[in-house]
């Protein structure tokens, strides 16, 4: 029934309308929204609407001690928290002139690659779910859980470990951990052909994802795309190789690329990176027992630690792309300014807005998941 004072307005008929996509929508990753303008099923324009997850991290960090912020930073990107801790620690180490023991560096590399594996399994599982292939998502989440078990054993936390501190890592690797890790890697490697058959070589996926959300290399560079999304346009750029941090220069791995620049290529790059991460982890497992020594260098009393004044900019390769921290200290016990350069802020805003134009409505979710953007990191 219509309200009493309802008066129909006459509008000229049209095929254009606006649709709110998210924040509470199964096709969207996390708490994020889109306003899309449609003509039939075709997207005419898209506008990202973030801010649902804004917590004001950069401001919060100015009010807490250097060491307290370690507990805060992993929350910036929930599916891939370890690079956040490591990158922030690297920035403080650079400011404070700390020398991280070699063993700690290897342990950090191990964690980073474990986190990358977990994040990639989650990412293409999510992508599969948007195209209706829930089995892949179930498998991906289940296999990711096995990695989380190892995280729990190593650090005590399933998702947020808070294990890296400036100067090293908190705890020694438990006995027998490396053997269990190695059998986990064997298992994951044996699963890869299954994933290929189920998902990556599945015609449903290939036909849906090919040429969807495609970008050229020039566009990618102009829009600030990094990580697997950039490598899917054919450019082999990886911070791990081109600006090595920790001990990545001693490791042997490849940078997989794909030429297409579309959703299919982006997923195939992630698929190849799984293999490379397993390869890196194998090397770490082999080398770690022979590297002896402390796991962290002595730091001043963390509750009254005045980090020397200065600025530092450190970057690492997270599973989503290039992650960087710009930290300024004025010699106090708290940071003066922390800026996070997250990869998702580019991917989920300008790249997604551009790629969505001209695609069909049902592909918007696919494009978002194939970019593997992480909404909490966009909003921060």
């Amino acid at each position: 029934m219509r309200p009493e004072n309802y008066q129909a307005k006459n509008h000229p008929p049209s095929h254009e309308f606006e649709l709110n996509f998210g924040p509470n929508h199964p096709g969207i990753e996390g708490n994020y929204a889109f306003k899309v303008k449609l003509n039939g099923d075709t997207v005419l324009s898209a506008r990202a609407d973030g801010g649902y997850l804004h917590r004001g991290f950069e401001k919060l960090m100015e009010g807490r001690l250097w060491i307290q912020n370690i507990a805060l930073v992993p929350r910036i990107c929930v599916p891939d928290p370890v690079p956040m801790e490591v990158c922030y620690s690297l920035a403080i180490e650079e400011l404070g002139g700390l020398e991280v023991p070699e063993r700690a560096q290897w342990i950090r590399v191990m964690q980073l690659e474990m986190s990358r594996l977990a994040a990639h399994l989650f990412a293409f599982g999510g992508h599969a779910a948007t195209t209706g292939m829930y089995t892949t998502m179930f498998w991906g989440v289940a296999d990711r859980d096995l990695i989380l078990d190892r995280f729990e054993e190593l650090t005590g936390g399933r998702v947020y470990s808070i294990y890296n501190i400036p100067g090293g890592v908190r705890r020694e690797v438990p006995d027998g951990f490396l053997e269990r890790m190695s059998s986990l890697l064997d298992y994951l490697e044996s699963r890869l052909p299954d994933y290929d058959n189920l998902f990556f070589r599945n015609q449903v996926f290939i036909k849906r994802a090919r040429d969807v959300g495609a970008m050229t290399q020039e566009q990618a560079l102009k829009w600030g795309v990094t990580g697997p999304n950039l490598r899917a346009t054919g450019l082999a750029f990886d911070v791990r190789r081109d600006d090595p941090y920790l001990v990545y220069d001693q490791l042997d791995f490849e940078i997989p690329t794909e030429p297409g620049g579309d959703a299919l290529s982006r997923n195939l790059v992630r698929r190849s990176e799984l293999k490379q991460s397993i390869r890196i982890l194998r090397q770490v497992i082999e080398r770690l027992p022979s590297i002896r020594g402390p796991i962290r260098c002595p730091i001043p009393n963390p509750l009254a630690w005045n980090v020397p004044a200065g600025e530092s900019y450190t970057r690492v390769e997270s599973s989503k792309g290039e992650l960087a921290y710009y930290v300024v200290s004025t010699g106090g016990d708290k940071p003066y300014r922390v800026h996070v350069r997250g990869p998702s802020s580019m991917h989920a805003v300008q790249v997604l807005e551009n790629l969505a134009v001209g695609s069909r409505l049902e592909d918007v979710a696919q494009i978002m998941f194939s970019l593997d953007a992480c909404p909490p990191e966009v909003d921060r």
Binding site: N5, E16, N24, R55, R75, V141, D145, V159
Partner: protein, 245 residues
């Protein structure tokens, strides 16, 4: 912290009410029990990924911890959902959407607050952008504390809710109608006094016969004051291709 609601013995009131109405037909009591039992065993859950706690839900829902064996399934529309899961900190912008979603859900409805952030603000106690205490804005049935709670904890929280439903203790949705003025007051403090939602809670409270002296008050009076007259839906449309039409 002052929470006015703590002084109101809502549970006793309800129990008195229920026992006063005790049905004479024994079959009716059996039937009531059966309804409650069934209700607690088939719950559709709308999870609104408000914060980081949402990352532990996929493991809890999929093969490893498998929530579906408890009869709990995700649901995409609020109209058909029974449980609203708030998975983590709520920023003020999100809180508006949560309230709209909650009011759209059909009764009986239950709210679960996952994560310490919904209990007292958690890590973000000093953040300018988050709402700290969830139960100031919505009645919460079960809290699952932890930063972040493990899937086991999530499942044990859900089991607790099931127990509460089958024993008739999970009545928070009634509280929303009975103390609407209190909740609305808190919402207005945050969003400004011209805050309006499209759902007419007061009419619904009348419909369910849940009006108390706390339903209406100074805050609900503001609702009427700021209410804009109903307008016809304004849709901006443009025609490009006249032939097509």
């Amino acid at each position: 912290m002052s929470n006015e609601l703590e002084n109101i013995p809502i549970r006793q009131e309800l129990e008195v009410l229920q026992s006063g109405q005790k049905r004479t037909n024994p079959l009716a009591n059996v039937f009531d029990g059966l309804v409650k039992f069934c209700r607690s065993r088939s719950m559709f859950m709308l999870h609104y990924c408000t914060g980081c706690g949402a990352i532990e839900l996929p493991p809890a829902m999929t093969s490893r911890f498998d929530m579906e064996r408890l009869g709990i399934q995700p649901m995409v529309t609020p109209r058909q959902a029974d449980i609203l899961l708030i998975t983590g900190y709520v920023s003020i912008k999100t809180l508006k959407r949560i309230i709209l979603t909650y009011e759209q859900m059909g009764s009986p409805k239950y709210v679960i607050g996952i994560c310490s952030c919904t209990v007292n603000g958690g890590m973000y106690w000093q953040s300018y952008a988050t709402a700290k205490v969830l139960r100031d804005y919505l009645p919460v049935d079960v809290y699952i504390a932890g930063c972040m709670p493990r899937p086991e904890a999530v499942i044990s929280g859900l089991r607790e809710l099931m127990e509460d439903i089958s024993s008739g203790r999970a009545e928070s949705w009634k509280k929303y109608y009975q103390h609407y003025d209190y909740y609305l007051g808190n919402q207005q403090k945050l969003f400004g006094e011209d805050w309006q939602t499209p759902t007419d809670i007061i009419a619904e409270a009348r419909h369910y016969d849940l009006m108390t002296e706390h339903t209406l008050g100074e805050h609900t009076a503001l609702l009427e004051k700021h209410q804009k007259p109903l307008e016809a839906l304004e849709m901006r449309l443009s025609v490009k291709d006249k032939q097509k039409v």
